[in-house]
């Protein structure tokens, strides 16, 4: 039996009157790359934000490394947060700080390392995402794809054991996106980091995912779970097969 890193139990999310996610149950195992898929607006980012503990759910619990993140006290959460890295969909770099300062921020807060050591670590993180030479740039001076990469560098600054990526390769050129996939795989292999990745890129999914779950807007929950190669061939649900085979449902053609 594999060890469980994150467990989501009976999670229900409601915004105002509309239920976005209904009774989600999900385990993420240590060291695996779990990919969350689904159409736009089906609640992927919402699920991710609940897994990190940013929002309080209507019902249910999220447990990371044995700690219930919704009811844990501040000290425990702080310890846990050190172990979690997050790349937000909009990168969420701090606009008033340079790229360098953005990445140094968690290192300064959590490690107490010397300035020299921090400088080396920041540079190495930038080298990993291919952004060396942009240390003194402000986020507003970067392109969308570069912001993404800077966001990734910040997320991995402390070499956390759990990483959350919300659409890491959206807006990147295919080469950079492929390099990013390699980066994700190598970090996962080399350090054994558990990863939860939201992405739409089929290529990326087949490259990196150990396991995928697919969310669906109408069902407000998970409609498929498993190995993407197997789901593509054997899923009984046409919505799932269509997604993996890039097949556009026929009724959409008839509209035109």
């Amino acid at each position: 039996m594999k060890e469980i890193a994150i467990s989501v139990e009976n999670l229900t999310v409601r915004f105002g009157d509309s239920v976005v996610l209904n009774n989600i149950n999900l385990n993420v195992f240590k060291g695996e790359i779990l990919v969350i898929l689904g159409g736009s607006g089906c609640g992927k980012s919402t699920l991710l934000k609940h897994m990190i503990g940013l929002y309080e759910p209507e019902k249910g619990r999220v447990i990371i490394n044995g700690i219930d993140i919704i009811n844990a006290d501040e000290n425990k959460l702080r310890e846990l947060r050190k172990d979690i890295g997050v790349l937000f969909q909009s990168s969420a770099l701090i606009g008033s700080m340079t790229v360098y300062e953005n990445i140094a921020l968690p290192l300064r807060e959590y490690t107490g390392l010397s300035d020299d050591a921090i400088e080396r670590l920041v540079r190495i993180k930038l080298a990993m995402v291919g952004l060396l030479g942009y240390e003194i740039y402000l986020p507003s001076e970067l392109s969308g794809g570069m912001k993404k990469r800077a966001g990734i560098a910040r997320a991995i600054a402390l070499d956390p054991t759990i990483l959350f990526f919300d659409e890491p390769s959206a807006g990147l050129d295919p080469i950079t996106a492929a390099e990013l996939d390699l980066l994700i795989k190598n970090i996962n292999n080399g350090i054994g980091t558990t990863m939860v990745v939201v992405t739409h890129e089929l290529e990326s999914i087949f490259n990196i995912a150990h396991r995928v779950i697919m969310l669906e807007k109408e069902e407000k929950g998970i409609i498929a779970e498993g190995d993407p190669y197997i789901l593509r061939k054997e899923s009984k649900d046409p919505r799932v097969r269509n997604f993996f085979n890039r097949h556009i449902p026929e009724h959409l053609y008839q509209k035109t």
Partner: protein
């Protein structure tokens, strides 16, 4: 040694070559220790060759990988062979993540030198002149657009005008009323302390109403509107710039000044005279309360004295003043908003500077009015 530590064991002789067995965690927390260890190896031992054994390493992250790369790099610089043994496939993958050439080169980049003191002063002065030029250009351009929209009234976004009239006018009434009332109260009270000595309490109503209508009414209202509305305009438009909304408007064929600035300026132009009159009335009422309750003036006397002091000419010039202030406040607010490029921080700066610039220019223009009116 605790399980979270980083350890090492050094075997062999410097001349014959060293074998360094690392153990424990090669991780971020221990990065300082690893760096000083690296320094020691090369400065103290000066080995003729180096073997790094990773057999007892329990955990390695990218900081550990960086350490190994620096060991290799340093050996290369010293011209000694360096070999890493017992490296797992995963650890090798981690090492390969790092673009060594780029990393090494990045340390050779020198930092840009800053400006010296005199250059900075010059720089700031040029910026200041530029800023004044930009504001004048913008307000001029806006006035042209306002006049041109007056010829085509249907091109004005009246719905927006009404919304902004409510936001900056109706919603601002309570604070304008309160402050003006207190101002009238204080003026009447303070002046009566002096005037009482000469038995000249009868002049309090005239003093309050003339001071309010000629100067304080328009100025107080302008200060409040600059703080409430000018700043809001800068923040709204600034945020729209950050979100590329303004770019989207341009692409869709809208003129952002006509779309965003003109309705705002119009709205403030319409409500400002009313707010000013409200401010005058509340202040006179404040004076009235003091006069009737504290100075033994009758209701009738107070009103009569006030009416005698108020001249139609003063009211009209006061309203012209307030419309001028309105254009300046709203125009500067919008201009500061448009100056934002793309960061949230700039929005904050724009908001502050919208208020400060507006206040500065209002005082300036008010003095000009005072000089001009004294000749009429």
């Amino acid at each position: 040694m605790s399980s979270n530590d980083f350890g090492f064991d050094i075997k062999g002789l410097a001349e014959a070559g060293l074998t360094v067995s690392l153990s424990g965690r090669l991780s971020v927390e221990n990065f300082d220790k690893m760096l000083s260890f690296r320094g020691d190896i090369f400065s103290k031992y000066k080995p003729s060759s180096l073997v790094i054994d990773l057999k007892d390493v329990t955990y390695m992250d990218s900081a550990g990988a960086l350490f190994l790369i620096e060991m290799e790099y340093e050996s290369k610089k010293e011209g000694i062979p360096c070999e890493i043994t017992n490296m797992t496939k995963e650890q090798r993958g981690l090492l390969e993540l790092i673009d060594r050439d780029a990393y090494e080169k990045s340390f050779q980049v020198t930092k840009k030198a800053g400006l010296n003191f005199i250059e900075q002063i010059g720089h700031e002065f040029i910026k200041f002149l530029d800023d004044i030029k930009n504001i004048i250009t913008f307000i001029g351009m806006m006035i042209i657009k306002i006049i041109s929209s007056l010829f085509r009234l249907s091109s004005i976004r009246w719905n927006d005008v009404l919304t902004y009239m409510k936001k900056s006018g109706v919603d601002g009434l309570p604070i304008v009323g309160l402050i003006s009332f207190l101002l009238g109260l204080i003026m009447a009270f303070m002046s009566s302390l002096q005037l009482k000595q000469f038995g000249a309490n009868i002049y309090v109503p005239a003093l309050v109403s003339i001071a309010m209508i000629k100067e304080l009414g328009p100025i107080m209202t302008a200060i409040i509107v600059a703080g409430r509305t000018g700043s809001a305009f800068a923040a709204e438009i600034g945020t729209m710039k950050v979100n590329e909304e303004v770019d989207a408007l341009i692409v869709m064929g809208f003129d952002p000044i006509k779309f965003l600035a003109v309705p705002r300026v119009f709205a403030v132009m319409f409500i400002m005279p009313f707010l000013t009159i409200f401010s005058d009335l509340f202040a006179i009422f404040g004076g009235f309360v003091v006069g009737v309750l504290g100075l033994d003036l009758t209701v009738h006397t107070y009103i009569q004295q006030t009416m005698k002091a108020i001249k139609i000419f003063d009211i009209i010039t006061s309203l012209i003043k307030s419309v001028t202030f309105a254009v300046l406040i709203a125009g500067i607010g919008c201009h500061r908003g448009f100056e934002v490029k793309h960061s949230a921080e700039e929005v904050g700066t724009a908001t502050t500077s919208a208020v400060v610039t507006a206040l500065f220019i209002i005082i300036l223009v008010d003095s000009m009015f005072a000089v001009v009116l004294s000749y009429i």
